[in-house]
């Protein structure tokens, strides 16, 4: 399973490296979102700084949808999905591989977004460690849920509208928890400890990775 996962992750990431779709299209959308938020809240920086933790995660969620769409579309044409299924690769491994590739891309997006939030909104980071842990665990959960739904909606003509509808409510706890961690890491007033929220992020990631590993194969069974 792990070997197949590495194989598939490598394939997806190599495609991204060559086509650079996420880099050239999704990253700019992320930056654009920060600018749009500024238009919505500014020009005074106080509301932006106060909202910065939440805005970061909202941007992550929405660009995450785009990244998952892209990942699902990679197998789109000419029976790529059938090819993957018939190739004899362990479906759990395929799932982990695709999720890992999405996670890597999401982490890149989050790095850009964090830099953007600090730069544009003047946020001051007190404990970067917590932010990194939150990002990694939150991303793992998002990538897992997203990859599962991406495969579910793959090949459907309504995929573009269906995927956000399915993915975003499931991703909501990550938004809640991630925002809380960021709030405490940025030392916002009355934020409380971020620890229980980090634990929630870990639980979310573990649960959805487990669900994906178990259900990805049965999901792909030929009709």
């Amino acid at each position: 399973m792990w070997r197949d996962g590495v194989l598939v992750a490598g394939k997806d990431l190599r495609i991204e490296l060559r086509s650079r779709v996420v880099l050239h299209q999704v990253v700019p959308v992320a930056v654009l979102m920060l600018v749009l938020f500024a238009f919505a809240l500014g020009p005074a920086t106080a509301p932006m700084v106060a909202a910065a933790p939440g805005l970061f995660w909202v941007a992550v969620l929405f660009t995450g949808v785009l990244a998952v769409q892209r990942s699902a579309a990679l197998e789109g044409g000419d029976g790529g999905r059938d090819g993957l299924r018939l190739s004899g690769l362990d479906p759990a491994g395929v799932f982990l591989g695709k999720a890992a590739a999405v996670a890597v891309q999401l982490l890149v997006l989050e790095a850009v977004l964090s830099a953007g939030v600090v730069l544009f909104y003047g946020a001051h980071v007190r404990s970067p460690g917590a932010l990194v842990v939150a990002s990694v665990t939150g991303t793992a959960g998002l990538a897992a849920a997203g990859t599962l739904y991406g495969a579910l909606a793959a090949g459907l003509r309504v995929r573009e509208t269906l995927l956000p509808l399915l993915f975003l409510p499931v991703a909501a706890p990550v938004l809640v928890a991630g925002t809380k961690v960021w709030q405490s890491a940025l030392g916002a007033a009355g934020a409380g400890s971020g620890d229980p929220w980090l634990r929630l992020l870990v639980v979310f990631a573990v649960v959805y990775l487990a669900v994906g590993v178990v259900i990805f194969g049965p999901l792909q069974e030929a009709p």
């Binding site: 739904y149 269906l162 509808l165 399915l166 706890p173 929630l200 069974e221």
Partner: protein
Amino acid sequence: MASPPPAWSRRRAVIVHVLGAASVLAVAITVWLGLWVTPPDQHLRDEVRLVYVHPPIAWVALYLAFGLGALSSVLWLWTRTRSAAWDRLAAASMEVGTVFTALTLVTGSIWGRATWGVWWAWDARLTSTALLLVLQLGYLAVRRVPSDRDARARRSAVVALVAAVDVPIVHFSVDWWTTLHQGGTVTNPNLSPTIHGSMAWTLLLGFVAFTLLFAWLLVVRYRLVTLAEWREDTELAEALHERWAEGGPVAERRAAVPTATTATAAPGALAGARPAGPPAGS
């Protein structure tokens, strides 16, 4: 042509009618008791009367309908227990459940307006229920996507499973989210008044009544799913058959022979639908 599903047996039809009548009666009695017979609460005064309606509906929506939908989805997914009946049950339960969830939000909002003065507050229960509604709408959206029955069942079941896994997580996170919030007395009102005496009996009846109502709606909806699936399978074959029959004797003979066009199912019909055979007795 697929044969029509069997009609309800005499006994089953009677049971369904009795169930319907019983649920209507139970709801009516609950309303009567709730609105007129039971006393107003000490603190909440007359506003308490919504306790006979909102919590039962909420319970049905989350635990009964959604729980049943998730359970039957899992039973379908597990190959050892797989059966088309589970898929139909999940579809029926989730749809009826969505109606109940929406009503939970509406009655909760009205109750909030009555007791807190605001139409909406980000309290744990309302927020979790709102998210549940979106999850259920997603399920319904997935069921609408035209595809063959097996793929649709598979997709819906996965959505139901993921949603079911998400609900407790959402519940916990939203709960912490609201309780760790400093201040905001509006957000945690006492929606659990002390229940005693006639109020307790009425509340119990309320739960029973709405459960019966759900059961009746579920049975009817399930039957509708069965009939609708049968119609899906036969509609095209039947339409073609009737078209040819219009043409007179020659056309009728042609209609009697399975042709390539009847063998290829329309996009929405079940893959492998059988070609229209010769009409019975003609």
